[in-house]
């Protein structure tokens, strides 16, 4: 008991060592956030500084009462759900296969990360070309002009990019399943289904939860692929894209700041809900 408590209490000098790093972290997180909050209280445009007026909560009221905004948020959520579910299924398959590879394991683990290391813009371009004009329409004989293929291109580029990292997280989870437990389950005559739900899933659940939360938040801020698809998607924009349009095309920086604060709240809520729902614990 005493040794346990002694281990957890930080030494006096520890705080002083951590303080500079903490200060930098707080500054680089809170300063932009503070600026965004301040800017969001004004009706302000980059190109007409003279017309800046104090707006109070007007920008926020405008955003949360706008159907366009909530349609965009809903569209983003549907996209996130689709991408994350497909990613998890694929990654689970890859992780199960990778677990059986022993000799070249270090190389295969690096290999699955390659898509993640590529620039998102390049990936988004490649998949858009592939699905709206290139190999896919040729193989499956469809016209790539419609909204469907534009949506498929967004999903495909996100899935392709994120499956590797999801695989690694799930693989870490699978590694936590004690082989002895699996062996005794086999000896006890457990069916494959029972082994999955009673042995593998409970041990790998924390990793699964991390994968879901991390991939959801990451997919939520997906930007490159939706931006490229914008021309072929009339009226369908993701929430980050609306923020970008408002800030960097209309140059309405006050409204854009309010949107980004609302978006941060939405994403924070999503993160908390998923964490509670999946009871994420530290696994990695």
């Amino acid at each position: 008991m005493t040794s346990h408590a002694a281990r957890r209490r930080p030494t006096k000098g520890g705080w002083r060592l951590v303080a500079p790093a903490l200060l930098v972290l707080v500054a680089i997180t809170l300063w932009p956030l503070g600026r965004a909050l301040y800017t969001s209280l004004y009706t302000e445009s980059l190109t007409t500084p003279d017309d800046t007026t104090f707006a109070g909560a007007d920008n926020y009221v405008h955003v949360v009462t706008s159907p366009t905004w909530w349609v965009a948020v809903a569209f983003t959520l549907v996209l996130v759900a689709t991408v994350v579910v497909i990613q998890l299924l694929l990654a689970a398959g890859f992780a199960a296969a990778l677990r059986r590879i022993t000799v070249i394991a270090p190389y295969t683990r690096i290999l699955v990360l390659v898509p993640f290391a590529l620039m998102a813009t390049v990936v988004a371009f490649a998949w858009r070309e592939g699905i709206t004009a290139g190999f896919a329409p040729q193989w499956f004989h469809y016209s790539g002009d419609g909204q469907g293929s534009a949506l498929a291109a967004i999903a495909a580029s996100e899935i392709w990019r994120g499956t590797g990292i999801t695989t690694l997280i799930l693989l870490a989870g699978l590694m936590r399943v004690p082989p002895a437990l699996l062996e005794s389950a086999v000896a006890d005559g457990a069916t494959a289904r029972q082994r999955l739900t009673r042995v593998v899933l409970p041990a790998a659940a924390p990793a699964l939860a991390v994968a879901v939360v991390y991939r959801s938040l990451d997919a939520f801020r997906a930007f490159e692929a939706p931006l490229l698809a914008q021309a072929s998607l009339t009226g369908l924009r993701t929430a980050p894209l609306i923020v970008w349009d408002t800030t960097f095309t209309s140059f309405e920086i006050g409204l854009g700041a309010a949107m980004s604060v609302v978006l941060l709240t939405v994403v924070g809520f999503l993160g908390v809900m998923l964490t509670l729902l999946l009871r994420v614990r530290r696994v990695l």
């Binding site: 445009s45 405008h62 366009t68 960097f248 209309s250």
Partner: protein
Amino acid sequence: MVAAVPLIVSMMIAGCAGTGSASSRDLRWWVLPDGVDARSLAETCSAEGDYRIELEQLPAGVDQQRLEIVRRLSSGDDAIDILTLDTSLTAEVAAAGYLAPIPAEVESAVTGGVLPKAIEAASYDGTLVAAPWWLDPQLLWYRGTSAERAGLDTTKPISWDDLLAGAERLGSTLLIDDPDGTGLGDWVRVLVAAAGGTVLEGEGRRPQVGLATDPGRTAAGIVQFYASAGIGPGPSPDARAEFAGARGGFLLASSAIVSDPVLSAVVADIKAVAYPVVEGESVAPLSGVSLAVPADARDPDLSFEAVTCLASAESQQTMMSRSGHGATRSSVYEAEEVKGAIASSGVTLEALESGVNVPSTPYWQRVRVALRDTWLPITSVSPSTTPAESQRAVTELVSGGMR
């Protein structure tokens, strides 16, 4: 080792000071792909002055030009010494404070003998902010005998109703040239103006919007008639090519089309008359460019020296006779060189006097976006719904709302 440190530091400082190989007498002029042979004009001016002009390209679309210009100038980039600025962006770029004030002697040099509408298009808030360069009115072009066969009398102003009915009866087309994405905004604003209204008056966030009005409904009626007649897709970047094709009959475009290679096969057989009228006088949409000097230009005085040369009557005369773009100095239209090369120069000059510029508001780009959102596709335009809808959309976007 220690002795080498100052050397390295001084080399780094030298490396920062000079951007590439550019010397202080080099000017970078950002031009548009507008068919003007900017290189030869720049060389002529460089030969007279003590500077060298290098060219950089801006994108063709006005939306893209705006993004490029605002992103560069808002961050204090000094890469632009002379800027070819579209007249629909003048107010916004000036209101943002991105342009260097024009010295008095430059102002008198670049406005002497310049058409009033061209000075208006290069001014904001009563102050000249750029040197007028070229300004084009749209004209009504027709091929061969199509006007005659459509029953139109080209010696008198042609009304929209007669033109649309004539083109439909003839089974021909009426195309609307839109090389830079401003076609729809220009079409709507000029129809409203020709019917006696104004799309927008006032500079601030709460301007007077004139769409849900009788002139607005008249404009919507003309667009609806056009769409239902099936004689063209509305403003389109492909209009010139289609006009040169088998079904080409009528085209609304500036006189700069005569220098476009796309039309080289038919250029001998096309004629221009004034823009179609709604009631009374012909009113054409005016759009053009002026030459501006950014506030962050490295040497504004040198930039203004070059601008004065580029905007001179000789330079504009060369520019107009080769590209077809309407010069902003009235003396250019009397030159034999111009009259010989550009047959439509007389019609252009008349239209430049009666035409309308883009409203001088920094929010015009937002108006254009709102018009695109509500007047496209043109097949769904109706006088009973579109004016009110677009009135709402324009008011909303200009006041700072979400798109």
